[in-house]
Amino acid sequence: MRSKFGFKMVLLNFIFLFAFSTTLFAQKIDLSSGAKVEFDAVGKPAMINIKGTGSKATGVLSFKDGSADGEFVVNLKDFTTDMDMRDEHMKEKYLEVHKSDFGKAILKISQKVEALFPQSGVWNPQNLKGSLTLHGVTKEIPLNSKINIKDGSAKGAVNFKIKLKDFNIEIPEFAGITVADEVTANVLIDSKVSP
């Protein structure tokens, strides 16, 4: 009798501890504390490397019970490519940032991930996907993520490729240079991790 009671107590304790431990590992990255967004595009035919910088990501990415949830919000108006005229064309003619809801890109992540977010170490999940809203179009895209967590901070990147046509963005053309359809975006994270 006593041993049965003891076994139940051990089992309950184990269940309690397991349940508690999963919530104990719940963590979130506050992107507002330091996340930049850049993009790389290629201009043809001269194979120009165009780098867009200057924009920040805001939002919170949470990890709990084996799920990753959250969203990045990027203000497209902040991007610059080191050339005024090209920036003007990019924002006004192609991204049309002046139109309602076109000024921001939003990347949502909400899925179970096999790789649990560690308290310390590298988070490099496979098959991570996100839902990107850009230029009024929402589309699911595969994401590559590698984030190093150490001493309460997260450093790394989430990157993904965008096909401009998928988002109804006209292929940019400027002064004889045509931008290739595929653009790579990088969210560079250097943010705090909090429980």
């Binding site: 001269a46 005024d84 004889g176």
Partner: protein, 363 residues
């Protein structure tokens, strides 16, 4: 006088392959010509203000400061260059101001075909007399057969090495490439991903007296850009005239630590046969320039050059150490000041000092 002529014929027009450090590995980003130099396209005009110049106002970078509008398929550019030089050797001291260039270049594009022509004045020394005569440094037809392939035929400079405008360098001066060494050529350029290939068949000058070139032949260059801002390449040149045959080959590169610190190097071997005497000479030439942009458009630099085009003759051996400053204050303007100490090994050896200041203005 001979030195002045060498310098005169060895300073070329605007072309800045070092802009690879900003992610521009190919000349066609900025220039009408696939091998760079001269006529800027609209993109090149924008870059001249945005990344090359210290200051610049909106619209200042355009032809005639935007005061003259041309149709979309017409492009125009004017050039003026002045040089002030001072040279000391144990036997000679000279100082001169030279009006080097006053040219107008234009292009007309119809579908995939572009005609380019440049017209101006040339000062030449003929039998000790200064002769001023009309010159066309570039006159060619270009066909963009596809996004990757361009054919060009007519008069233009042979593509060689880094193809920089710094043609006072040993590589260009000693090997006979530079301004007013243009020839009549047919050129194929092929650009794919990070590779660019140039092949040029050189048909000579057809008795064009404005060119100092004498050779016919071929040249091929292959360049590869990597890490979005670095460039390496190699050139092979085969030339012949009535007095000599020669092969030149070697590597070149532009490597940079960041956008501000960058090294440009060229190294060439030459194997030359004098067809009159049947004597063969072998040697090398190298030019290296280390640059540091302290502020946008302000670039001090150090140079090291060496060469000996005939291993068996000290008369062909030279070394040079130098420093200088390149300044792009506003679009349309380049100022360059340089000091070089050259060491010659002929006649028991001597040193020469060369100072020069160049103003390059384009409209």
């Amino acid at each position: 006088m001979i030195f002045v002529l060498l310098l005169l014929t060895s300073l070329s027009t605007w072309a800045f392959p070092e802009l690879v450090r900003y992610g521009y590995p190919n000349c066609t980003a900025c220039h009408a010509s696939p091998s760079g130099g001269g006529l800027l396209n609209l993109y090149g005009r924008e870059l001249s203000k945005e990344i090359l110049s210290t200051w610049g106002a909106k619209g200042e970078q355009y032809f005639a400061y935007g005061l003259v509008k041309t149709p979309q398929n017409v492009n125009l550019q004017g050039y003026v260059r002045l040089l002030q030089l001072h040279r000391n050797t144990p036997n000679v001291e000279e100082a001169r101001t030279i009006w080097m260039q006053a040219d107008l270049e234009g292009s007309y594009k119809y579908k995939n075909v572009t005609a380019v022509g440049m017209f101006g004045r040339q000062e030449k020394n003929v039998n000790g007399e200064k002769v001023v005569q009309p010159i066309s440094r570039r006159l060619y037809l270009m066909w963009n057969a596809s996004e990757n392939i361009t054919f060009r035929a007519g008069k233009f400079a042979r593509y060689f090495g880094l193809n920089t405008p710094y043609h006072t360098s040993f590589v260009y001066r000693d090997l006979g490439f530079g301004q007013e060494t243009e020839t009549y050529n047919a050129e194929l350029s092929y650009l794919k991903n990070n590779f660019t290939l140039f092949y040029t068949a050189i048909f000579g000058t057809f008795k064009d007296k404005t060119s100092y070139a004498t050779e016919k032949g071929h040249t091929a260059s292959l360049q590869y850009s990597f890490l979005k801002s670095q460039k390496v390449g190699a050139t092979y040149y085969k030339g012949r005239d009535e007095n000599q045959k020669r092969d030149i080959y070697g590597p070149w590169f532009i490597l940079n630590y960041d956008r501000n610190l960058f090294l440009m190097s060229e190294f060439f071997f030459q194997n030359k046969l004098n067809t009159q005497s049947n004597l063969r000479s072998k040697g090398y030439v190298t030019t290296n320039r280390l640059n540091y942009q302290v502020y946008k458009g302000i670039i001090p630099f150090l140079t090291f050059e060496a060469g000996q085009t005939d291993w068996t003759s000290d008369a062909t051996k030279r070394q040079s150490y130098g420093t200088g400053l390149q300044f792009f204050p506003r679009p349309h303007i380049e100022l360059m000041a340089s000091y070089q100490k050259d060491r010659y090994y002929v006649d028991n050896g001597y040193f020469a000092d060369l100072y020069w200041l160049m103003l390059n203005y384009y409209l």
